[in-house]
């Protein structure tokens, strides 16, 4: 067979929302290359393993998740000739979305890594900064036209929790009243459980489960460029209007 041989790895951009901020799971490299530097979790693909299986295995090993209702999808492949000093390594980036862990595990990390707000991540080993950026952008744009935001929520959640996911991922604020109507009127997005939850202060919110819908028609439009520049390209969609403190 013609062609040169590559080692093939999977790397994971594991995102969650903690304290109303979008966070990524990072590990510290122990062995060369780049010892001591932060990196995305990942590893090599095994003998008879498909890519998604390898990514699932790494996710379980690195987070201690058993099975969970997490989302996992392929992002893309990265294979620049010099990206790994050990030789030719192609890595297939994957995006995983986890609900914000409450309680015991919420300290600061998992079996193998620690959580970092995506805006505060500096240099990463290999080309992992690029993979992270691609993963974050994928997550941001998918919130617009899919129901993927629910993957950041526990099995039962309120409309407010879902809204805070959007606000954390996009870095915007959203009018709670219009958001409420929008998501509850999308068919099969949210299934009411009939239960309510007391969040401390204020009227208890209704609990929902995720419905079967995967697409949002019409999409939930974010301002075209709220995170990169402040250009008034277009009137913001779903912006908070009355500036509550």
């Amino acid at each position: 067979m013609r062609g040169n041989l590559f080692a093939v790895a999977v790397d994971l951009v594991v995102l969650t929302v903690r304290d109303d901020r979008l966070c990524v799971l990072l590990t510290q490299r122990s062995a060369p290359p780049f010892p001591g530097e932060p990196a995305l979790p990942g590893g090599f693909v095994r003998q008879r393993e498909d890519l998604l299986d390898a990514a699932t295995r790494e996710l379980v090993e690195d987070t201690g998740l058993t099975v969970g209702r997490h989302h996992l999808e392929q992002l893309g492949s990265y294979a620049a000739p010099d990206r790994d000093p050990r030789g030719r390594v192609l890595t297939v980036g994957h995006l995983a979305l986890l609900p914000g862990l409450a309680g015991e595990e919420s300290g600061s990390g998992t079996a193998i890594g620690t959580w970092h707000p995506v805006g505060e991540v500096g240099h990463l080993a290999f080309d992992h900064a690029r993979i992270l950026a691609d993963g974050v952008e994928r997550a941001r744009s998918k919130l617009e036209y899919t129901t993927l935001a629910a993957s950041f929520c526990p099995p039962e959640f309120t409309v407010s929790q879902l809204r805070r996911v959007y606000e954390a991922v996009w870095g915007t604020t959203i009018d709670p009243r219009n958001f409420q109507r929008k998501v509850t009127s999308t068919p099969d997005f949210l299934l009411p459980t009939g239960e309510k939850v007391r969040t401390g202060r204020g009227r208890p919110g209704q609990l929902f489960q995720r419905g079967k819908a995967t697409a949002l028609h019409p999409p939930m439009l974010r301002d075209p460029a709220p995170l990169t520049n402040g250009g008034p390209v277009r009137v913001a969609a779903l912006r908070n209007g009355d500036g509550r403190p």
Copy 2:
């Protein structure tokens, strides 16, 4: 270095619009495996070549294109353990969009392949049917929220040509009058050249060049599922209204 070694290939989903139909470039395999079967064009990645460089090289070799204003992007990677009987081969699918070639080359193919309407493609070698399906779906959805449709057009084109691209790719009809307003009112999508072109019958249309815009805000919504089922999920956007023959 741990990990098993893979051969890495790139495969190309090369799409164009010919005779108002979305067509894909297919080759006939000569050597094993799957000799004689139709397949996507592609080949192995070379020693110090990045993925997009390899895909560009294959595109040039297979279509005879010199440089062109074609679009080329990565689709995703496919690495099922048994996808190639020769051994472990990971292939990185790519999507290329070409303008419909007019004149001499419009016969039926290119240096290495022939054009087939995507709806009439049967069995393909390897897992290429899956890669093709993913490429077509990517193209269809990208027309909604990007200006990518212009990649199917020559450097100068009319609004009608652009509309026929949408109609061919989506398999729908679009009201020419509303389409005209929509695309000409999107900032930086179309640059008027000032010239007009006589297409045979009817009033000559104005010629445009592609502008700098890449995103469409708001998106050009197609009916959620016009190609897979006919469910009246939602009123069609931009549907032809007066049923001209």
